[in-house]
């Protein structure tokens, strides 16, 4: 019996030791024999949205391609810190200051949430690594709504009674909703949800009228006929849905896509930043990545390195700021 007791104590101590080890990693990095920097131990990928959403899918596919294709040998752990239009995630990332074993996915909310003044951090505080692609929005209705084409959609919106679901306040889908509201000259009630899953469910159940989503989150429902695609927010029609018109050709000058990229915590060591940037470049050229992520989720290839990405964001940030100001979200 004493043996069993000591075994169970041993397991507990082991858990403790493993836990300590993980937290100590930051301080115990070693250069390998070539002098090239490499992370020592596991890496954390953080998604600021719930599992099943765009960030989560990207990071999970990324981690599987990186491991299976031998681009990164370290074990990768994907974590989710959903809430507050990525504010929770940004707070978590900020708390990792100086860490070299932690990167996170960024999209429009990474600009809009700080712009609204809800967090003390702005994108300039974090370490740019790479932009990986651009994700178009698709406007969808429930197939039982009686709306089946753009003309009927236009009439419906102009009645001024539509509820429009999206993820988080001031995020990409919210800004698109506001642009539609402005362009159509009709009132739209925007209902914020916590993640893509909830938004899709709300539309499927017929609880809201319209959603704007990234293609992957609703693909399944478009194919089985539960949802009808009404319009896309890109410059040109999408290859996958050639019959779906763009908002621009329908007479509303709205082009709105979501960038998808990777950032590191504040003051990430430069050697680590360069290492991740290199790995991301390798990833974006990988065929598996193109077929399992970009093509599968209808995301346009658009690699940018860290400094390009940062200047792209600086420009975009002032566009967003302008948008939010005109729409009265910020003063």
């Amino acid at each position: 019996m004493k043996k069993l007791l000591s075994i169970s104590m041993f397991i507990l101590l082991l858990t403790f030791a493993v836990a300590c080890n993980t937290s100590d990693e930051e301080s115990s990095n070693s250069d390998n024999s070539d002098g090239e920097w490499e992370p020592d131990g596991g890496i954390t990928f953080m998604a600021s949205y719930a599992p099943g959403g765009g960030h989560d899918t990207m990071l999970r596919t990324m981690s599987s391609v990186l491991s299976n294709e031998g681009i990164i040998d370290n074990s990768i752990n994907v974590i989710n810190k959903p809430g507050g239009s990525a504010a929770v995630g940004l707070g978590h990332a900020a708390s990792q200051e100086g860490a070299d074993d932690y990167i996170f996915s960024v999209t429009s909310s990474y600009l809009t949430t700080p712009l609204q003044g809800n967090v003390d951090h702005s994108f300039e505080d974090f370490t740019p690594i790479a932009r990986l692609g651009e994700d178009p929005y698709i406007v969808l209705v429930n197939s039982e709504s009686g709306i089946s084409n753009f003309k009927e959609f236009e009439e419906f919106i102009k009645e001024g009674n539509a509820t429009f679901g999206g993820t988080s306040t001031g995020g990409g889908s919210h800004l698109l909703a506001l642009q539609i509201e402005e362009a159509f000259g009709a009132n739209i009630e925007y209902v914020p949800f916590e993640g893509d899953g909830e938004v899709v469910t709300a539309l499927l159940g017929g609880h809201i009228d319209v959603i704007a989503d990234n293609i992957h989150a609703s693909k399944e429902y478009i194919e089985n006929g539960d949802m009808i695609p009404i319009a896309v927010s890109t410059q040109e029609r999408l290859e996958e849905y050639p019959e779906v018109p763009t908002l621009i050709e329908s007479g509303y000058d709205i082009e709105w896509t979501l960038f998808r990229g990777i950032y590191g915590p504040p003051n990430m060591p430069e050697e680590a930043r360069a290492w991740y940037e290199e790995k991301m470049k390798e990833l974006s050229e990988n065929e598996k990545w193109q077929s399992e992520y970009l093509d599968k989720y209808s995301i346009k290839q658009g690699f940018m390195n860290g400094s390009e990405f940062e200047s792209y964001l600086t420009e975009l940030n002032s566009t967003y700021e302008e948008h939010l100001r005109t729409l009265g979200i910020i003063e």
Partner: protein, 495 residues
Amino acid sequence: MDLFSNIGLGLDLVLNWQVLLLIFGGSIIGTLAGTLPGIGPSAGIALLLPVALGLPAGPALVFLSSIYLGTMYGGRITSILINVPGDSPAIVTAWDGYPMMKKGQGGIAMGISAISSFIGGLIALIVLAVAAPLVSQWALSFSSPEYFTMMLFGFATIASLSDKNYIKSIIMVLFGLLVGMVGMDFISGFGRYDFVPELYDGFDFVAIIIGLYGIGEVLFNVETSFKLNIKKENVKLNSIFPKWKDIKKVTASTLRGTGIGSFIGMLPGAGGTMATFLSYSTEKSVSKEPEKFGKGKMEGLAGPEAANNASVGGALMPMLALGIPGGGGTAVLLGALIVFGLQPGPRIFETSADVVWIIIVGLFVANILLLFANVFLIPFFVKIMYYGQNYLGPIIAFICLVGAFSLSYLVFDVWVAIAFGILGYILKKLDYPTAPFILAIILGPMAEDSFRQSMIMSRGDYSIFFTRPLALTFFILAILFLVYPVIKRKFKSNK
């Protein structure tokens, strides 16, 4: 779609020694992960995800879902033995399980809860096998107004949980709402009381329960000499297994718990936890001796345990059929499905029938294995407790602190656990109930969010809560639950 040929397909895939070994390994790992507070289902599955990635999709997902089911069995062990719930659905288990342990009936408590878990888990899996695509539509009919009235119903059940002092219960509910409010509000995007970055996400709920129950109990027992009532004769085999008449006594509770667990467990968010609370208050309401609840009543243990494990099958339905995770554990499973290139959704039953049915049949087998494993583990755990009872205080404190730290490797969570431990001690000393507090932390934020979403949807019209059939049903249930204890008391005093 033919059910029997599907089950045949699943059986065919499960019945080979490699898959069976994976199910067995997953179940045992899950039980151990569930036993350690702070690990629980989501971390347990996430920790072994890299191992599973090396396997083909079907066996890997069977392995991961066996871990999930195993944690549900494991979570109850520390609840019963040392009053430390490993995860939120195991909180209720501690309310009557730990008092039974203190009475020297720990073995019986573990046996009863293992059997109820088994029955609950099994029936819910049958429901899943027969009706998943159909039943998951039920989850679709739920939206913000339904969630809000369901949360109201949840609050109403607090009334039946607290029979002694209503004022104290109300104070605890308000305090719970305050604690639950900390963190980022996603509807407005503004933070509340988030003075340090660790609080952006709010308090870690598991750190709170580890502190409140585990550390609080240790502190309380420092005053008296902390000894469990385990005598030599209690360790003998015939007194640690439940008797047939005990099992018969709790059959009705188990079945009620199963029903509640299968349906409520399906709802995203607080599914599993809500189900256990609802089952407990249902048992207390229908019982002829409600005053014995919280002091080691078997029905109060069996119902929620059945509900807890039934919610596993329940949560898998919307996960597979709609791609919506019902809780932390299914969220990680959903991630695994996506990594394996499967698209959860209504068509998964056709496009990936092999994977779906290997999971369902595999869980069926895991459930049977887990029952045996858990019953045979009883003597082991009872003996550990017998030999360890003199050192129990330090051991529990150690497990609690390590558990709190391992939640997200933050020392902050250790301080949270200690702070709530001191609070738990004070509350116990002054005889304040903790159930309303815990329930308010869970329900408060969800009630608030769904209320505001409903109000946006209806443009400020309150009738949205009364014009939708399901919402109205929960509203009426809430009123019934509030009025029922009063009527029952009147009825009794008239007699």
